[in-house]
Symmetry: D3
């Protein structure tokens, strides 16, 4: 490679410009100084991995840990989980400018307490995820076993991440829940906001392109296919043409609802128990319990031949 | 971090609850004991990487192996591939509860034999993938070389994974093919079931959101754009409202068919040779050879101004 | 594992067949010999990571580097960036068969010069990305801070990669820009061609399935939702039924345009300043400034009950 | 780096010559083929590390495992120890040409059984090592605690390795014991043959250059300083001028013996209980119990001034 | 590998016995609980490496950091050094039972302050090490440059470690200094107690087997060859036959003294300025300034022929 | 950890002082600038490891490469060896201030040529090392096979490093040979200068403390025990009291000589063919062929009892 002794000073100059920009506006995001924990995408990934391995011991692992050491492995990983989680919750509390109610000196203790509460709820999370596994297995003609669902299905993977993130959000953890669901979004193409409320026996099939908004409410035993959006209604904006914030704005789906691929349901509408929404539909009104919506015409095309 | 000596016992208690749940239903998935190979997502990823590198030596590599060591590298990687593949096939055979025809003592030998058969078919896989590369290059105005297709194109990446997985499925390998295509699904947003049958010269452009079902049959020189679903027809369910299993339920596409973005074709319909399906369509009936379907109206909207 | 001494020769035979195929057509892609840099997906990933960390110091990092070492870290990473970038640009120049204007002996120097030019433009890239951050934060009711946008939002991540890739393309770097945007495509489901021209204050929400073509032109303060395609018009093919290459073929969007989820805009149409395209639409004609398009009917379905 | 396409063939030629040499005489050391475990210096190092950590939990570790996970860590490391040990014992049994009494099919089972026996004796090894720690602490004016002995003292480190290796030798494990003591030799400069028999309360101070031969017998509470050799008598050779093999040829030291620095004791002599051998002496005869040997003259020099 | 389901319980039983032994006597060495730093040999190794790299930038490094980033690298490594050092000093303070003067709550602050003091003295350490380098280069006919001394010479390496350890001991750091010199002992065969006091221009040639005791005092420009012991006089023991502790017991060497290979000097004797001790001597009395001691006879042998 | 925002500036100040010292005297050792290869102890270690593995394929490896891939592994490792060696030779040529005969532009080519020459001589090195193995096996009653010699014996390990280093010195490579032998010195306690000339069938037993000087000449089938020094005569100094440089100053040993433990032979004396030097002797005169030297008296002590 060619050498350029003058290049050093140019690089210094570029960095100087970048630093002066940084000093102006996007200052270092922790409210405290040197040594504070920072939000870390890799730590958050590991948190989800550890929580998943604890809930499904023997499945989501690459190492051939046999049953004789499984409980020891779980103990060590649970301690690792607690440490990482407490650290990332601390980072989240420092990060969130609105969390000023907690004094600096109490952040570490508070974060540890939230991490404990999360770990205490792992058996409950596992319990509801078992209902998701069963529903996925029963509803997919291609699934050969419940084990395959745990190992392979992106819909289940996104649901695991959502349920972890939602539990953390319930506990008041800032930022980290959103990082968790965005990582699952990246892995699966399924974008579930941690604020959504979703009942047991939830199934997402294929799943790429699914979007479930922050105030959506979904009952038990609901099934959703790829490309489905449960979104906020368009055109509802404030004076500055920005969406209105903080109000319930996403659909409510009753128990047993099915939404087929690429359909869009917008706004705070009610989809009644047992309703079925066919594929490729655009729904912005309430749907009665048991109602079945299908394409207005069997085919929306004409032949150009 | 604060310390809490009592925390140890709480963690033990949580793990106790998780283990008792595990004992009840989702017991360790191998049918044999300590030391058996487990299914491993990272091993399966490495298998696809090795098979791809063997088929396209000099391309899909990060190291600057020059030509003088290429054949030596291929030899070593081929042995690594055989070892990993035999191990994951073994794990898959142990995992699949329906594979009981093979006695435990024969699983390792059988897995090795299947791995050998797969490696023997690498040149054939490479041959058909060459036709996919050529078709992609010729069909995309943005492609600057066939080499760029191999390195960059997600549609080609998904096709490589599908063809590897389909070959393993043909050989009777359980679970692993599905893991391979779901990994490609995560990487590309393209979900091709390994059971589908796809001819040569296959092209997927952009690809995010494509879904191709387990019993779909696709001819030669077919091209598919992003968001296309070749799915099972909705509403065909059994008494328990679950989809009917094990019957041909996805479309058959003839040679030279093109399906533009976001269109959905459902059910065991025949799309004849040379047919063209325009974008955003919803097709649930047979299409004649050479027929061209387009939007019923040029624009499906009205102005709100 | 069972052993098979004969297996060695079979593997040799398979490799022999693979090598002879390779010799015929897909010969090693560098135009020079042993020791030349090869295109490397992991190197390109690291390039994007380093450029992002330099533009947003203290954010996109897993390590807890405090402010006291930040400038030292930036200096070292900037040198690493320059080295990797020069090497990958060299590889790209060797790779591109049409780049024959540059003599072999000058490639390394030329690549170093391009890398320097790229680094010199990092503050400008940072400046425009700041406008994207602000627009995203203001436009999303769920965003709690601009920092959260940098850390979590896939739309912003895809925009960072696009702006880096577009700058490299402007400098005349072959192949590498496309590798960068395809990596972002894999991570976010958002496929922006590096050739597109996009103004400041750009926002993509959710984003899975978005496709923006190579000759698209997008004004300032445009917002796009998941599943939107800005594509080339279908059916415009040459004699061999392949798309016509090298001509402007994607839409032009004016300032302040909004395109809601899953809509498709095809061809070299003009969408005027301030126009709003509702969800799920299919647009192949010009749209007037300020025009608002919505579904032709509120709901495109009928009840099957 | 300069390139030389012809170099490839020269390298091939060199390797050809090396391989033909290897085929002639030093053929691959395992008696069986592909896939058999090989002796591995790094595996043997890990075995010693794991056994040491199990015997002194909380000491010989770099990670900050607190007491709450210590028992879980020990369980996992004990299983790792068993696996590595069984594998290296297998490799040793394959390696040793005289071990032909064990049929190939039984080697793996036999190795596992030997590994179990070794692990069963860890508490006993720990017990005798405790006496070595106490004796070292009491005998060294510079030792501040027994903990410091465990962490810092090379004499203790060599003794740990010797006692592990000696136990394996007692169990009939070939080659591995010698690998263990040679690794300690490399780390400490102390060369104790695993065949030597050494009582409790053993102390080596400083230790560099100490050599203790294969048939040496050492009583309880013996202390040895740097540079001491307990060797075979010189000049006892066979017709070919090679040392005579397989007969007791090293010294016997009684209880409570002290040997000061750089002294040499040669041949099957008896050093009685409580005898003290001063520094820099050359001893080839029996020494009475309680006898104290010192330099013949206080100083063995003259002034040249 | 064979499997034995009963083995799990045996391993549990062995660990139970080891834990009960541990509870009895060698309880976990830190005085505080979970989360406290532990002494770590690898951390201490890294401390010596970092301090050496800071003192000799550009020499003791494997990476090809050029001059343009050297100062940035030094800044980052200096912060890493401070963090590791403060942590290991904390661990040492917790470890040392006699250090009870410092309350638990102050240990972390005190350790940080000691780490700062050490870093402040790096330039002074560098200054005296420069005199050692010069003396080594001038005194060895085989040395081709001062740079070679820094990179290759074990005597210099041991001296660097000693001077670092001695400085820490002066600051009152427990245990860590001894760990540092024992690591150098393992690497070089040279055992210098950190308590020894050694003047500038110190040279050790070859060095294997050198032992320098805790209360030794060595003047300026002294040179010592392999196998030399500066030890405590033998036979000075207390009532329990253990060496008397805590009194000056090692030799004092004046300026310019040379001690040739394998000689032993014992007890609190004075070796006057400029004295020369020949090889293989045994010295237990004072030596006059300028005195030259040689073997009593030219050869200490007879011919057996 | 406590934080101290002022600390940053102190660290900057320390680094400033260290840099100004460095600028004065020990400037960066390469004669050229940014990007030149630097001497690297880890690269040199890898060079010795690779050369050893090529000479003894199947032995000095941790991985279980079976015979079927051995030749491929050797090819790749031989290329790695050539690359590392050429780079370190370049670094050595830049480093050595007396090597000015080679213009900067030719250093890389010259280094590559020397690396080739070294690799060409690997079979010859292997040939002479085979004689060392045989002699060690025959001469040690504890050796169970020639394979054990290769794997375990520090004397053989030191001899391998010496023969590699000596060959590089013969080729005119600066500095690197000395780095190689000092690494072996650290690992084995055996210090052989690469300049020494040593015949075939060379054996070192135990070995700790052995020193063989730069101008020593050793015949065939010589055996040396631990602690033996073949050194320069003492007291031969120049006016500045420094050793005289550049003249033959170490012993010449004939064929078949044996030197027992801890003996010292000094100066340019001749030890005739077949001579035997007993243990602990001090020899500064010629020894006749076949002469056997032993201690003047059987025991050099008196009883103090």
């Amino acid at each position: 490679m060619e050498k350029d002794p003058d290049k050093r000073f140019e690089i210094d100059e570029v960095i100087g410009r970048l630093c002066s920009m940084e000093d102006m506006r996007h200052v270092c995001p922790t409210r405290s100084g040197e040594g504070e924990p920072l939000l870390s995408n890799s730590a958050v990934r590991r948190i989800v991995e550890l929580a998943s391995r604890l809930m499904f011991p023997g499945f989501l692992t690459d190492s051939d840990r046999g049953p004789s050491v499984m409980r020891s492995v779980m103990t060590i990983e649970c301690h690792e989980l607690r440490g990482l989680l407490a650290s990332q919750i601390s980072a989240g509390l420092c990060f969130d400018k609105n969390q000023s109610a907690i004094p600096d000196a109490d952040i570490s203790r508070h974060a540890g307490s939230l991490a404990d509460s999360f770990i205490d709820s792992l058996p409950d999370l596992r319990h509801i995820l078992d209902t998701d596994i069963d529903a996925t297995y029963l509803g997919d003609p291609a699934a050969t076993s419940t084990h395959e669902v745990i190992i392979c299905y992106p819909g289940f993977k996104a649901t695991v991440s959502y349920r972890i993130a939602h539990r953390l959000l319930e506990l008041g953890v800032p930022v980290v829940p959103r990082m968790i669901t965005e990582q699952a979004h990246s892995d699966t193409g399924i974008d579930i906001h941690p604020g959504a409320r979703i009942g047991k026996g939830f199934v997402i099939d294929h799943g790429t392109g699914v979007v479930i908004g922050a105030t959506a409410i979904i009952g038990d035993n609901v099934k959703i296919y790829q490309g489905v959006t449960l979104g906020a209604k368009s055109f509802v904006t404030d004076d500055s043409n920005n969406p209105v914030k903080g109000i319930p704005r996403h659909p409510i789906l009753g128990n047993g609802v099915v939404v087929y691929s690429n359909s869009t349901i917008l706004g705070r509408v009610n989809i009644g128990d047992g309703a079925v929404i066919g594929g490729n539909l655009w729904v912005t009104r309430d749907v009665e319990p048991g109602e079945k919506l299908i394409q207005a015409r069997a085919d929306n095309f004409r032949s150009a031949r």
